[in-house]
């Protein structure tokens, strides 16, 4: 009660406060994304200043997008899981397992005359299967998502190593790589796939019952359950969804590198969670943004790109990445408290 009426007062504030329109705007979802865009533009400015003509080329832009595509697809899946109140630490391992499994299909002699579409099917099925296991054990086995996906992280990568016998598997079917790296309107197909996944993700989250349920389950599980929403089944769907995203990401990786390896997707879970958090999705669930996640991924990849162009070390990149995460979260908290408390 006491807390509640204060919130009522706060809510009244939101509607009546006149000044600081810019800050108020930054608190809305539209505004938050605008803030992220501004941050991205500032980073690009740094790129232009420090790396000049090497940074500001369309080829370099495509390099950034290419790097962003794989992690971006994974991050979009991760956004759904986190909005739904969960977390998936196993995404990187699932990418590795999917890549190894689908390249095994392609490299086996008996598979000489199978079409590369089989690889696509296998990668997606492996991703979905891992997600299904995660989801079932979390929803019905009541294992905490953190622990379950941690276990999957270990097991999936272990299985990937067993299947690949710790070797890198090379895909010799050119048609597969050609399809994904073919340029359409100057942009490679796998980057188009990233755009497509982002659009589908946005529509799914904001315009469908699936998205509405995700928000409800993550925002207040008990209320969702008592309103008749099949919470457990929906939780399973969410992990299958992120698993499929991992399968897509694995295909992109295999196409770009023409290899499947148990080391693919290393630490993707951290990059994806970082991008999701920077994008303004609450780690506690119930609220989040696909657009934010996409910009979050682009911010990281652009920073990486600038570091590489300036010949800085990986270690320095990692250091800065940590700082960016902390800065972004601090800024969001500021805006959130400005907007809802004062």
């Amino acid at each position: 009660m006491s807390q509640d009426s204060v919130r009522v007062e706060q809510a009244a504030l939101e509607t009546t406060r006149e000044p600081n329109k810019a800050l108020a705007l930054l608190g809305t979802s539209m505004g938050r994304n605008l803030g992220l865009v501004i941050a991205l533009l500032l980073i690009c400015l740094v790129g232009v200043i420090t790396a000049g003509d090497r940074f500001a080329t369309s080829a370099n832009a495509l390099t950034i997008l290419g790097a962003a595509a794989t992690i971006g697809v994974v991050s979009i899946g991760m956004t759904f899981v986190i909005i739904g109140g969960g977390i998936d630490l196993s995404v990187g391992a699932i990418v590795a397992l999917s890549s190894v499994w689908c390249t095994t299909v392609a490299t086996q002699t008996m598979a000489e005359d199978t079409h590369w579409v089989v690889m696509v099917f296998v990668a997606l099925a492996v991703g979905a299967g891992c997600g299904l296991v995660n989801g079932l054990l979390i929803a019905y086995g009541r294992i905490v998502p953190f622990v379950m996906t941690l276990a999957m992280l270990a097991s999936a990568r272990g299985l990937a190593q067993i299947i690949s016998e710790r070797k890198t598997q090379i895909v010799r079917d050119d048609a597969f790589a050609d399809f994904f790296t073919k340029e359409v309107l100057g942009i490679e197909v796998y980057i188009w796939i990233f755009f497509l996944v982002a659009i589908v993700g946005w529509v799914l989250l904001n315009r469908t019952t699936f998205g509405r349920r995700t928000v409800a389950v993550g925002g207040n599980t008990e209320a969702a359950r008592l309103a008749g929403i099949p919470v457990k089944r929906h939780t399973v769907y969410l992990y299958v969804l992120v698993g499929v995203c991992c399968g897509i990401a694995a295909l992109m990786l295999v196409a770009r590198t023409t290899t499947g390896s148990a080391t693919h997707g290393n630490l993707y879970e951290l990059d994806a969670i970082a991008a999701v958090v920077i994008g303004g999705t609450l780690l506690t669930g119930g609220r989040g943004s696909i657009v934010g996640t996409v910009i979050g991924v682009l911010i990281f990849m652009t920073l990486n790109n600038i570091f590489i162009l300036n010949n800085r070390s990986i270690s320095e990149q990692e250091l800065l990445k940590g700082a960016v995460i902390v800065a972004a979260v601090l800024l969001q908290q500021r805006l959130a408290s400005r907007n809802s408390s004062t």
Partner: protein, 504 residues
């Protein structure tokens, strides 16, 4: 008669754009129970937070024991002897009673806690509160809400408390526990401790209070009113600015054509909680479940809804049997629940009103999984208009509504769903006096439209006033069933308590 302990005068607290307190006066004497009354949003909480050092007043003075003071932090207020027990108890469930009592001021020597001495001190405090049966080593999470409240009070007394502020302490208690609480309060006031008591329930204030201060829209509209000679009508007039009393809607004149029952509960049981519960509800009928907290009322409702998995028995709606432990099955059959804990069980507080309303009927607004949000908003707007949800606007977050209006949103959800059976668990908890009558009217009009309604309430007059038929639940069994008009409050009290040692 007694010395003034606290005087707050002309307290103003402004948040940018909102004047939460616009000049509040309050004086409290040592050893009295001073009741603070007001509707939600009247400024009670803000006033308490000013008093306990959470907020700093923009204007006005606080005089404490004859000296002007300013409590700049909660710690300062506690140091001076002002302890506040909020409605959401701030206890740590995984720590034991002693650890909670001394949280933040542990009994220690050279950094090592002295457990034995601390337990001893807690035992003494609990004895002083008349609850020596609570073990200092119990985990707080294992205690009942009533006993947790006692632990909070022990914590308050572990400081040298001269003024205890209780924010709606009775909201989580049943009648007997409230009596216990009152005994504790009387013990404290006899020792000279002053109590500020906040409650929506006027009858409690009648029983425990000495004087009353009424707040409305951040102002004091009446202060120092003696409980003994201020009529209820006057208090309601002060609180609402209107002269209304909450009246129950009339029952239909003639019993309607009964026909087959809509809801049929047969031999329903939940191991260790209740057993062999049987009742039926016809269309247009309101059935009330009365009983003590812990007697199994809420559990019965939750179980028949599928929120808990029944161990025995069947529930049928319109002749269709519900799957045990499946809320989805109940909702599909046309059952709706307005849960006891509206905020944590019923609503997505940060989401828009319309989304909360359409939550259980999404299929109706979707084509191939795509939601028609315009249609959603239109339907939600119709419903909120007809239920008079204020302030209007279906895109505002539910959090910004008062308790009564939040309850209307929950009811709108099931109206939209066109449910056949509506289960209401404590429908007016946290709903202020003005909005109660509206909720009662609404429930009756739903029944008149043919909905079978089950109402659970700790407030006996609510069950008696609203329901057509009353079931009395005691210790996990239905012990009595009769028409509401054949019962009165004393009779129901007798039934719910029978066999228990009534000590008061």
């Amino acid at each position: 008669m007694t010395d003034l302990l606290l005087t707050m005068s002309g307290i103003v607290k402004e948040f940018p754009g909102v004047r939460a307190l616009g000049g509040v006066d309050l004086d409290v004497r040592a050893g009295e129970v001073h009741c603070l009354l007001g509707q939600n949003g009247a400024g009670k909480s803000t006033l308490i937070k000013v008093l306990s050092g959470f907020h700093q007043p923009d204007e006005g003075t606080i005089t404490w024991a004859g000296q002007e003071v300013s409590f700049t932090t909660p710690a300062k207020a506690i140091e001076q002897g002002v302890s506040t027990i909020y409605q959401e108890l701030d206890l740590v469930p995984h720590l034991d009673v002693t650890e909670n009592v001394f949280l933040g001021h542990e009994v220690s020597r050279a950094g090592f806690t002295q457990r034995a001495r601390a337990h001893e001190m807690v035992r003494a405090l609990l004895a002083r509160l008349g609850h020596s049966e609570i073990s200092p080593t119990r985990l707080v999470g294992d205690l009942s809400p009533a006993n947790q409240q006692i632990v909070s009070m022990a914590r308050a007394l572990s400081h040298d408390t001269r003024l205890l502020v209780l924010d709606e302490p009775s909201a989580v208690l049943d009648q007997q526990e409230v009596d216990n609480l009152f005994r504790v309060i009387r013990g404290l006031t006899a020792e000279g401790v002053a109590v500020i008591y906040i409650s929506h329930r006027l009858e409690e204030i009648r029983e425990i209070g000495d004087r009353i201060t009424v707040l409305k829209d951040g102002r004091t509209v009446g202060t120092g009113l003696a409980v003994a000679d201020t009529p209820t009508v006057e208090l309601i007039r002060l609180m609402t600015g209107r002269s209304i009393e909450y009246v129950f809607p009339p029952r239909p004149e003639s019993p309607r054509d009964q026909g087959d029952p809509v809801l049929e509960v047969r031999g329903l049981g939940l191991a260790g909680v209740f057993d062999g519960v049987e009742f039926t509800v016809h269309a247009g009928e309101i059935v009330g479940l009365a009983g003590l907290v812990g007697a199994g009322r809420s559990e019965i409702v939750e179980t028949l809804y599928g929120g808990r998995r029944a161990t025995t028995g069947t529930v049928t709606v319109d002749g269709k049997r519900l799957r045990r432990g499946s809320v989805e099955s109940a909702v599909r059959a046309g059952v709706g629940l307005a849960p006891e804990e509206r905020k944590s069980q019923g609503l997505l507080l940060d989401e828009a009103v319309y989304r909360n309303i359409t939550m259980s009927s999404m299929a109706r607004f979707s084509r191939f999984g795509f939601l028609d949000r315009g249609e959603e908003r239109r339907r939600a707007a119709e419903l909120t208009a007809s239920l008079d949800v204020r302030p209007d606007g279906v895109t505002r977050a539910v959090r910004t509504l008062s308790g009564g209006n939040q309850q209307k949103v929950v009811l709108a959800r099931w109206l939209l769903r066109q449910c056949r059976v509506l289960l209401l668990d404590e429908p007016t908890r946290g709903v202020d006096v003005g909005a109660r009558s509206e909720i009662y009217q609404l429930v009756r009009s739903l029944a008149d439209r043919g909905v079978a309604v089950v109402v659970v309430s700790s407030e006996i007059d609510e069950v008696l006033g609203l329901a057509d038929r009353v079931l009395v639940v005691r210790e996990g069994a239905v012990v009595h069933e009769s028409a509401a008009t054949d019962l009165d409050e004393a009779k129901v009290l007798d039934l719910v308590m029978e066999g228990k040692a009534v000590s008061a």
